[in-house]
Point group: C2
């Protein structure tokens, strides 16, 4: 078996587990969001703010992928929602079987949620190919990472339904051409949504919350069968 055969087999096994997860999330009407970014772009901080803003109206939960430490799940728990850390054993991404196993072990604590946020391992490359049964992927890019990133990492910016530019409170202190980023994303994925936020200052956060509310409502109302289809 060659390296390519092994990779194909791994992705096939992942796709099978992802289909099974989609059926589960379809049956429970759970909106699942797969968040992907570089390390330190602000995934956990965005989710902490989201938990605090929406936890009284929706049943929310989190899965946090990392190479090491349980810090991120602890942060979400402190923000008031159930969360579980998945340590990947050195792998640079989560896979659908890890998600299945974590949910099975958590039982009712993470079942039947309105929304489950999966915070992937900090990495703009590896997580891109692994479907975790999510409704859609969100890619985060902080304004400090530079405005050349969508064209440097085209796969994730093509596949994410939403690009969220984070830490916009730092825009006055960095060279970051927001319109250049918007144009690159539009070129890679004309239907992608584009948000600019700062979890620290609160700027743009209402648009993010509205988006989640709309998608949670859509997921509840959509027939489960439609969400299992490819």
């Amino acid at each position: 078996m060659t390296e390519i055969d092994v990779k194909r087999k791994v992705l096939e096994a992942n796709a099978s587990a992802a289909r099974s997860l989609k059926e589960t999330f379809g049956a429970s009407g759970t909106l699942v969001v797969n968040l992907i970014s570089s390390p330190g772009s602000g995934k956990t901080t965005l989710l902490e703010a989201t938990a605090r803003a929406l936890k009284d109206r929706f049943r929310l939960g989190g899965l946090d992928g990392d190479i090491a430490t349980e810090r991120d799940a602890e942060r979400l728990q402190r923000a008031g929602i159930p969360a579980r850390q998945i340590l990947t054993g050195g792998a640079c991404h989560l896979d659908a079987r890890q998600v299945e196993k974590a949910l099975a072990e958590e039982g009712s604590r993470l079942a039947g949620l309105d929304a489950l946020f999966i915070e992937n391992v900090g990495n703009l490359i590896c997580p891109t190919s692994y479907d975790l049964g999510e409704a859609f992927k969100v890619v985060l890019l902080s304004v400090v990472e530079g405005d050349d990133k969508p064209f440097k990492y085209p796969a994730i910016f093509s596949r994410a339904a939403f690009t969220v530019v984070t830490k916009c409170d730092l825009l006055p202190h960095v060279d970051f051409d927001l319109s250049a980023v918007r144009e690159q994303v539009a070129a890679l994925n004309p239907s992608a949504g584009f948000l600019v936020v700062s979890a620290r200052s609160g700027e743009g956060m209402d648009a993010w919350y509205s988006l989640l509310e709309e998608k949670i409502a859509w997921k509840r109302e959509a027939p489960a069968a439609a969400l299992v289809a490819p």
Copy 2:
């Protein structure tokens, strides 16, 4: 062949190419530095400043690994040193055979340098396991990425001879506990060097340049054989 067998075979092939590169760099007395960080931590910006500061005294060159775009090599060329982009074909790291091939194709343009900077693909995980024939690895961490990163990505912070904290001009605008980072790095790698810089403001850059000058001198004077040893 299992997934683990394939990974072992890939790493063995890499190690063989890395040994050959070390012989070449030993014979020419070239200091090779493998720079690793998240996307947007400032590898290219650090190298642009380094090129401008040291190019009149040393023969410098760069190899820039990316998934897509030739932007980084172009930036180093504009800063006045020869540089070549290596597109990895989707891989999340450079490997030693790609470095061999690029150097062979460049011929004298990147041969016999005093120092060759290899800017790896933006990723804190995958590049860690691949020896590129370098004298040492440098890991960069920008102050905007958060002070929890060494313990979240322990492999690279354990293996890098130097941790360079970048964008320290932004410290007044972010929550970043520099001493916590220093302690994590010291716990993972007690012999690691630790620098704090801003290529933008110039703060700390003289220490970085002095370090490179010292290592270039060391590489020139060290017997080639000593540098081939494991």
